[in-house]
């Protein structure tokens, strides 16, 4: 480690590199015998939804199905928009902030784009 300036970065990089390697080795090692084909479950939410969409099944369909089963089993209780008053309040607040500020952010960005161009 000659480069004194980058010394701390290298420290972090090496430490985390080693941690990552060891964890990966452990994860692969401890997996033996638990071979299970979970298929699409390894995929991310985005890719999963895409493949689902390709098959014309959407998450909302799943939710509706689930709701129906819930209804069938006697539960009006948990409509999936459940949650306490606090969660409802934060939902309104955050959604409101995002929706209201978004046009201004876009317009501001376009303004800066025009002013900054070249």
């Amino acid at each position: 480690m000659r480069d004194k300036k980058k010394h701390h970065f290298l420290q972090l990089a090496v430490i985390f590199g080693v941690i990552t390697l060891l964890t990966l080795l452990y994860a692969w090692g401890s997996r033996e015998g638990t071979m299970s084909n979970t298929g699409m479950m390894g995929a991310s939410m985005g890719s999963m939804m895409q493949s689902m969409h390709a098959k014309n099944i959407t998450i909302s369909d799943l939710i509706k199905q689930q709701e129906q089963t819930e209804m069938a089993s006697g539960g009006m209780l948990s409509h999936h928009e459940g949650g306490s008053a606090g969660i409802k309040l934060s939902h309104y607040l955050t959604t409101g902030i995002i929706i209201v500020l978004l046009p201004f952010i876009i317009a501001g960005a376009i303004f800066l784009g025009v002013v900054w161009w070249r």
């Binding site: 991310s44 939410m45 985005g46 895409q50 969409h53 934060s90 995002i98 952010i105 800066l112």
Partner: protein
């Protein structure tokens, strides 16, 4: 003590960004769930509340730059997150992408599944790119990691150790 506006924004931004990435990653899929011990409900809550904070910070930053542009202030703010060139431009563009795709996911989840899926895809891949870029950023600016000079022994030990 004179603390500058761009400095405050940079570090607030860093905190919010780290937590957004943490909670976002936990939701990517079963492969990633271990990051927050499969507590997706909390991850979702944290991600959505902080997304609002992030949008607010972005709005403030853009408003600040708009005012500066109107006043024709050309001086570059060393710590500012958005700007017209270099890494500042990069964060500006990626931030806009995060916010726009995030809002699409948010609003279209109930109505337009293909839009949601597409936005999720961009949102997720963008996360990987931006985390890599932040590591690079820490590398480029790693003088920030140096401890303040003090007349103590640790510095000398370091020098001795490298010989």
């Amino acid at each position: 003590m004179n603390i500058r506006f761009d400095f405050v924004i940079h570090w607030l931004w860093t905190i919010v960004f780290a937590l957004l990435t943490l909670s976002g990653l936990a939701m990517v899929g079963a492969k990633y769930g271990w990051i927050l011990n499969y507590d997706i409900a909390s991850a979702d809550y944290v991600h959505r509340v902080l997304a609002a904070v992030y949008v607010l910070l972005t709005f403030i930053s853009i408003a600040y730059e708009v005012v500066r542009a109107v006043k024709h202030e050309e001086k570059k703010l060393a710590w500012f997150i958005i700007g017209k060139s270099g890494y500042q431009l990069f964060t500006f563009i990626t931030t806009l992408m995060f916010i726009i795709t995030g809002a699409i996911i948010w609003v279209c989840m109930d109505s337009n599944m293909s839009a949601t899926a597409f936005a999720l895809y961009i949102h997720e891949k963008l996360t990987y790119i931006v985390v890599a870029s932040v590591i690079w950023h820490i590398y480029a600016k790693c003088h920030a990691l140096l401890w303040p000079k003090k007349p103590n022994t640790t510095d000398k030990k370091n020098v001795a150790g490298t010989k």
